[in-house]
Symmetry: C2
Subunit: 404 residues, 2 copies
């Protein structure tokens, strides 16, 4: 029994007409495979439910998870109705009906176990199982939600559990692009990329997949396809490195305009000072991205620069100011007028000169680099926000990523 998983997001199931279109797409594949469909709530629905929760201010509770997971119940019921009406045997299932067991962290549950035997049983009398994304149940029988990107997580986890041939993530774009087509019209859909590349692109700003679901796919060696729910056309495959014969030196240029830079100057450079600063950030649930540390001109003190999400900036600043005496620094400055531009590619590991080319192009465009951070397959730079689009276009051109 060959199984594939097909996941559709909120915009693909926004109304009954769109759900009919999803049913068509599922019907075609149902001739070849048993299908596990994973759905999100109708677009806008989860935001509406979140606004109720915000009004009461009692988040990440058993209760808020009950509220926030109600939207998927509607879309899975409707899709299954349409499939059955069209003669395709189908059953809609909620997280607790499989069950998808999670831990007890409401608002950000992690999947612990999925009952595979039960799914096989449902497939005995059904061709399609329509599963509510984003939700599970803990050992006490309380419904849990999986947090941001939760429906992708459900899709990948269930695909791994049933050893699916592949997991198709349907979205409103045609796949993963070499860069944002809204900025660079010449951007090209990438046919195949590795988990590592996708992870770097996601974490440097590409919004098409959450890193959690890519990590989970990589761990289970599960092929993902990101494709459009609107047009019938192959998308981008995210696969194990060994499936890609010729690695691109640079696969894509990603960016983020939603980060702010914090610089703490004149810190006495003692062991443990970094641990102290970033421990404070972590214990306050603030994600820190780029970190750069330099010895300052006096040769005694150090300057520390790092970035946080814009909506965490004020909180981060307050925390550092509160600990002024303890951290013992001379100056604190912040800047939100920045952009992070990254080039990502597996080929970087074996090819030199990628960074040099990047810095040269930026210099030719008179764009000043505020900070640099690198991994084996990624180089990120911070620049002034007003130069972001210019930098993206120039880099996209110099690495020859465009259509021709």
């Amino acid at each position: 029994m060959k199984i594939i998983v097909m996941k559709f997001g909120g915009t693909s199931v926004a109304d009954v007409k769109k759900i009919r279109k999803v049913a068509e797409t599922v019907s075609k594949e149902s001739k070849k495979y048993k299908i596990l469909v994973v759905l999100s709530a109708m677009s806008g629905e989860t935001n509406k439910l979140q606004s109720f929760i915000d009004e009461v201010q009692y988040t990440h509770s058993k209760e808020s998870d009950l509220v926030i997971t109600s939207g998927e119940q509607v879309t899975i019921g409707l899709l299954s109705m349409i499939l059955n009406k069209n003669g395709i045997k189908s059953i809609p299932l909620l997280g607790w009906q499989i069950p998808i067991i999670t831990d007890e962290h409401h608002g950000k549950g992690r999947i612990l176990n999925i009952d595979n035997a039960n799914i096989e049983n449902y497939f005995k009398s059904n061709d399609v199982i329509v599963l509510a994304g984003f939700q599970g149940v803990d050992v006490n029988g309380s419904i849990t939600s999986l947090g941001r990107g939760g429906s992708d997580i459900t899709a990948v986890a269930i695909a791994a559990a049933v050893k699916a041939e592949r997991c198709d993530i349907f979205t409103d774009v045609e796949g993963v692009f070499t860069t944002d087509p809204n900025i660079e019209k010449n951007a090209k859909k990438i046919d195949k990329l590795t988990y590592e590349e996708m992870l770097e692109m996601s974490s440097t700003g590409a919004k098409v997949l959450q890193t959690r679901s890519v990590e989970l796919a990589m761990k289970n060696n599960l092929s993902l396809q990101v494709l459009s729910s609107l047009i019938s056309k192959e998308g981008s495959y995210i696969v194990n490195e060994e499936h890609i014969v010729e690695k691109e030196i640079v696969s894509g240029v990603s960016y983020s305009k939603s980060e702010s830079k914090i610089t703490i100057s004149g810190i006495l450079d003692k062991p443990g000072i970094s641990a102290k600063i970033f421990g404070l950030m972590a214990s306050n649930n603030i994600n820190v991205d780029m970190i750069v540390q330099n010895i300052s001109q006096d040769g005694i003190t150090a300057n520390m620069t790092f970035t946080v999400q814009n909506n965490d900036l004020n909180k981060a600043k307050e925390i550092i100011e509160d600990k002024f005496a303890d951290l013992n620094y001379t100056n604190l400055s912040t800047n939100s007028d920045i952009a992070k531009i990254s080039v990502v590619g597996m080929g970087m590991m074996s090819q030199s000169g990628v960074a040099e080319k990047m810095f040269t192009v930026l210099a030719e465009n008179m764009i000043n680099i505020l900070a640099i951070s690198t991994s084996e397959i990624k180089i990120s730079v911070l620049i002034e926000k007003k130069y972001a689009d210019q930098a993206i276009k120039s880099l996209h051109a110099v690495y020859k990523l465009g259509k021709k």
Copy 2:
């Protein structure tokens, strides 16, 4: 451990502000009792979900029940959040979490069993259980809905299961009135009435409670209170006859303007003809209300008059016309311009003259009676719709039901 059940309908939980008001009402009682709250979905929500189902046209299915029961999940989560925030220990529970076991009739499930032990267990660590109305789960683990008035049914059934002191049904009116206050300003709230009276008033047009839930309360000898969720004031108690010392001869005047009259003339009066006609109606799910049969002037054939709900009229007409040859009648006529006016009261059983007074008043008002039907505690008449309000006011006055 004394328990009361408090049920709030859709208008009482229409938004977070109104749910806060519900929390206040519940909080007051929680000083004296353990409380089981039963909620409907936000008003408008169930209609929206039903419109999706209608669009797909796959009603009364496992799938449509999944869709239609999702709204209660939101309101119970929100109320429980607010209660917990206010320091009242509360847990929200869905039908399957109790569980409330129903049969497998999707769209109109009947409750078979409620696990009492589980509820007692939840009360060990909670002061308030907030339960989703209108839903249950069948033995296969599929969610079922209970049909119209389903949340009232849930409230009464759970109250019976836990042997609650009483079951309060909160609505947007102050209780059961002697007649519709929109028609007769002098209408008075009834302090106490019997199950039988409430049943007759519900089935003759009073919309405050569905007959199914009153029947269930009567069967379990459970006291109901119908009261307003907006103002803090005692409502109407619906109780066993023995709790009412002095029975009113007439307790109320109810009416329905949504029925149509069907008259089949010149039927050969053979045994079994009624069974045939009403068997046809029943097998097509058409509820028949008043039935009057007369021998016609020729002394050989009979005329049969009965009423159906307006929205069933065309279907009923078609069925009778289809069976023209079989039923062997001379004429079929229908009339939707009618109203059914009923007077209801326990005292009628022991007091004579109620019917005479009714017919006299209608005659004095020059209102012609088209059909009559009676029970031990009720007299209903069909009249022309244009006289309905006049008849209601006159009857309300003659039985001295008003405020002074």
